[in-house]
């Protein structure tokens, strides 16, 4: 079986959340992990995503300052409209 070389970096970006949520099949997990095993850039992205989930997961709505919330919402709205 060919593992690791059948998956590319852009797929890792798409799969990382599913991986962390345990939503991938065993075969998909193997391919994902083998790519991470040699790809420094994807390992960094994987680490950052896991750290972000761990950090954000402890926040409550009241922890976010109002001005930061406004700026984030503005950014997301602009991004969805293709302006950012």
């Amino acid at each position: 079986m060919r593992l690791g070389r059948d998956i590319v970096c852009s797929q890792i970006v798409e799969l990382v959340t599913d991986y962390l949520e345990g939503a991938l099949s065993i075969e998909e997990r193997e391919r994902f992990e083998e790519h991470i095993g040699f790809c420094d850039w994807c390992l960094t992205y994987f680490d950052q995503t896991r750290d972000t989930i761990a950090t954000v997961g402890t926040l409550r709505e009241g922890d976010v300052p109002a001005d930061l919330e406004d700026r984030l919402l503005t950014t997301f709205r602009n991004w969805k409209e293709g302006a950012a």
């Binding site: 690791g4 065993i26 997990r29 193997e30 083998e34 991470i36 095993g37 040699f38 790809c39 390992l43």
Partner: protein
């Protein structure tokens, strides 16, 4: 059984996020399943596939041990020692050895000149190992890929004085 494992700084499992206890303290898993649960580790032949994951540790496995194509999974494991020989200097020597092997192939097969040049340009040992194996595969077919991975593992075993 002696095996090897790559851990992120702070003895963190690269995929599970588990922090390993100090050397000598057993880490136990209730079940063993590849890529799902259990203590995942490497034979020497598996090392080239996982080089990018961090610090290299010698570990001891016990209990139920399953052998997979490119990894071991056990119900118990404990750290023995960090393999200090896997250092920036030895990693760079390994990267250079991968590049030299790719260049050797390219001298015999000019079609490989492009990828061999790329192997020499990467600063990443794990990427050089992967690209070196792909170079061998382009040269000799799938058996070339596997043979190059074995050659890489033998290089690591010798340079890092690993126990078979």
């Amino acid at each position: 059984m002696i095996a090897y494992k790559f851990l992120r700084p702070g003895r963190i499992g690269p995929f599970s996020g588990t922090q390993w206890p100090a050397p000598g303290v057993w880490l136990e898993s209730e079940a063993v399943a590849v890529c799902a649960t259990g203590v995942h580790a490497c034979r020497i032949g598996d090392l080239p596939f996982w080089l990018g994951l961090g610090d290299l540790w010698e570990i001891e496995l016990d209990g139920q041990i399953e052998e997979d194509a490119r990894k071991l999974v056990a119900s118990c494991g404990r750290l023995v020692r960090r393999v200090e020989e896997w250092s920036p200097a030895s990693a760079d020597a390994f990267r250079a050895a991968c590049a030299a092997e790719a260049l050797r192939r390219a001298q015999l097969n000019p079609d490989l000149a492009g990828i061999a040049r790329d192997v020499g340009l990467t600063g990443s040992p794990s990427m050089a190992a992967f690209m070196g194996a792909r170079t061998a595969e382009l040269d000799e077919g799938p058996s070339g890929y596997e043979a190059e991975r074995i050659r890489q593992a033998e290089w690591l075993a010798g340079a890092l004085h690993l126990k078979h």
